[in-house]
């Protein structure tokens, strides 16, 4: 199988940069999952989709808007009414869902190439992300596992809090390089390391 090329290649520069007077504020990385799948339920079929996620990915999603769950290798979250993003380190998730989601239930759309996953983790992750997105990143308002859809000017983002100080930001691939560059720039204030 041919490896996916990262859209960040020329701007992805491992190492540390910025102001480290208070240590490293954030770590930035691209997670490059093998599968990113969008599932959409018809009105009233949301539970069936949640069940399919449980069956295929082994993730139990809490009820309610933006509910999600993440393990080390898999993650899923709601990002719109009846819509979910499911992510797996491995390829092949689309085919698996295509089998378990029936036409009467909803749709399966492969976005494995279409979205780029950028991880920001560290004590200043909330601070840096707040420079971009007009959503409340505090742990009470944005619990671990939950997902949010938002936008930074032209750049759409789906964001999951995968750990207390860790966020996975899914952006359109064509914008990924611009977003990454801006993210690095904004992180200089707190010191960042690219891993």
């Amino acid at each position: 199988m041919v490896e996916q090329e990262s859209p960040l290649k020329p701007v992805w520069k491992p190492g540390t940069r910025g102001n480290f007077s208070d240590g490293v504020g954030v770590y930035l990385s691209e997670t490059a999952p093998g599968s990113i799948v969008q599932l959409a339920a018809w009105h009233g079929e949301e539970k069936a989709i949640i069940a399919a996620i449980k069956k295929v990915a082994g993730l139990t999603l809490p009820d309610g808007a933006g509910g999600g769950a993440a393990t080390g290798t898999k993650a899923a979250f709601g990002f719109a009414p009846g819509k979910f993003l499911v992510v797996d380190e491995q390829e092949g998730l689309v085919a698996a869902f295509a089998k378990s989601v029936k036409t009467e239930t909803g749709t399966v759309t492969d976005l494995s190439h279409g979205r780029t996953a950028i991880r920001i983790t560290g004590p200043k992750a909330e601070w840096v992300l707040a420079k971009f997105f007009a959503i409340d990143f505090s742990l009470t308002a944005f619990p671990v596992g939950a997902g949010r859809s938002t936008v930074h000017h032209d750049i759409f983002a789906q964001i999951q809090r995968s750990a207390p100080t860790q966020f996975d930001v899914y952006v359109f691939r064509s914008f990924a390089r611009s977003f990454w560059t801006a993210l690095c720039h904004a992180s200089e204030e707190v010191g960042y390391e690219v891993k």
Binding site: F79, A80, P81
Partner: protein, 100 residues
């Protein structure tokens, strides 16, 4: 200005796109009544006060929302999914169309 998306919660107006007058009902597709179509496409209630309108949460979940908002104060008094609100639509509000 904030609009509380029923899915995403309160979000800044910059995440939304205004999609216009929310009380318009699209005529029967087969209708050939030009007056009815003209009213649908071109005529607006445009009130100074409470206004029923459609917004899309284009920078969020992308759902279209039926929003009641005061055009004098910008106070948003209700928000629901447009697809649910659609069935409650009334087209009795139009008295006279502007004619020349």
């Amino acid at each position: 200005m904030l609009i509380t998306c029923p899915y995403c919660g309160p979000r800044d107006v910059s995440e939304y796109t205004y999609q216009g007058d929310g009380n318009r009902t699209r005529p029967d597709p087969a209708s050939t009544d030009q007056e009815v179509w003209n009213a649908y496409v071109y005529d607006r209630l445009n009130p100074a006060g409470e206004h029923h309108e459609i917004w899309q949460h284009s920078g969020g979940c992308r759902a279209h929302l039926a929003v009641t908002r005061n055009t004098l104060t910008h106070v948003v008094s209700s928000v629901s999914f447009a697809r649910d609100a659609g069935h409650k639509k009334s087209d009795s509000r139009r008295k006279t169309g502007a004619k020349a």
